[in-house]
Assembly symmetry: C2
Homo-oligomer: 257 residues x 2
Amino acid sequence: MTERAEIGADNDPSFASEAETRRTADSSERAYLSIRKLLVEFKLKPGERINEVQLSRSLGVSRTPIREALNRLASEGFVSLTPNRGFFVRSLSTEGLLDLYELRSIIECAAFKLMCERADDSEIDRLRQYWEAIVDVYPNQPPDIILAEDEGFHLLIAELSGNPELVGQLSSINARIRFIRRIQIEHPSHDKAQITSHSAIVEAAVKRDAENGAKLLREHIEMTVSATQQALKDALLKVFAPDNGAELKRRRRGREG
Amino acid sequence: MTERAEIGADNDPSFASEAETRRTADSSERAYLSIRKLLVEFKLKPGERINEVQLSRSLGVSRTPIREALNRLASEGFVSLTPNRGFFVRSLSTEGLLDLYELRSIIECAAFKLMCERADDSEIDRLRQYWEAIVDVYPNQPPDIILAEDEGFHLLIAELSGNPELVGQLSSINARIRFIRRIQIEHPSHDKAQITSHSAIVEAAVKRDAENGAKLLREHIEMTVSATQQALKDALLKVFAPDNGAELKRRRRGREG
DNA sequence: GAACGCAATAGTGTCGACACTTTCTTGACG
DNA sequence: CGTCAAGAAAGTGTCGACACTATTGCGTTC
């Protein structure tokens, strides 16, 4: 079992530079971001046990900030903590993801309705402008940009609901499903449906048609859910294939692969 | 879990016993519970800066588990973290609370609808039984018990929705508004309204009347919101009066008293 | 006497070390 | 051969110490 800490974040530019006495500048926060990145990119694999020492070595900080970051990630649902055994990468079961999408749908529909009630015309116009500014170039961009713009669109609705808690919730949900959305986005059929959905949602917002807008959002999200089923399979393949099939088989022993 | 954390928690039986080498048994978790208790009981006051050293002394553990607990509390929204300045008790503004209640209403209504769709008859019956088992003694109990039973009722609905994310969200929200709910519960007008609401909700559940049940829930929660406004004032008085008025005045300088 | 530094103090952020627990290895026993 | 136990190794949980940053208090200057 030549473990070989291939976490490989040594080359993460946010760390490592200046091996000097620069003990400053919040290693905790950088550790958090780095680890989260490792998680969403499957460098740390679902179900896997996280070795703190290894991680701390590869990120070049002590275990303290690593643990702080992991604790944070635990209460955000990225990892789980078993006493005396450590942190584990949370398995992504199909149901788990669907639950998350369902929650997202609930939050977003509610946000939309509240926005219709509360936002003034200039605010609704901000939403329209946001979408119009990106709609033309939308499909011709790298996945990361598309994803960010899409999240921005939905997040803006949450903001215009006037309830910051909704924004917080949605952000957190977004972070957790981001990895799968990125994979989804690369499916070629995705873009056009996305565009027409968003345009229709903007239209409903301008008309302040809360019911219809919420319905569109729900459908918009549900539409992606069915695609998610397939994307999830792709993801699992992508994650476990590189090494070999044995890995997958081994994982099966535990709950929810 | 009966840990009574008088900020001078040296006398907290969950700690301190056996000053032996018993370095075992998760100080972090206990610190988390203790600090959260201090927060909901206003032993640590809104806006106040939290002194880690002091806390660690009074809880009898080192700063490490204190910090882990605080980080957790931070991502749950109880406290906020300003780099290099430390943790602050999150101020409770009126809007902040209303936002939280609104979120709660959203989650619970959605949970109820999902429960109507998905739960089988025996599960719905569990809800009915839960309520019938406590309805008779409900008002004649100490506030903590009433609160726990009430939360249990609503949490059960979330569970029966079949979506564990909803349970998690609701738990977290409950924890954050618990302190104000406890104060509310002591208002004498509270009980009867609570009882009739819950009974009606159970009835709707049995009939699987999703729309009506959600409406009842929404009203049930909104009803408490108006009471919350007053309860909040009471709470602030209760918090700041004991010392003296100057404290209150000082806080005013910062945002949202 | 008010504004400005500047030293002293208090407090956070991170580290390395060590105690305790879990997991792995090895070897005796059936 | 498989099972189990004892010891070794690996890993987590917590601690005390120190580096660095913010704050406070004091003396100096205008």
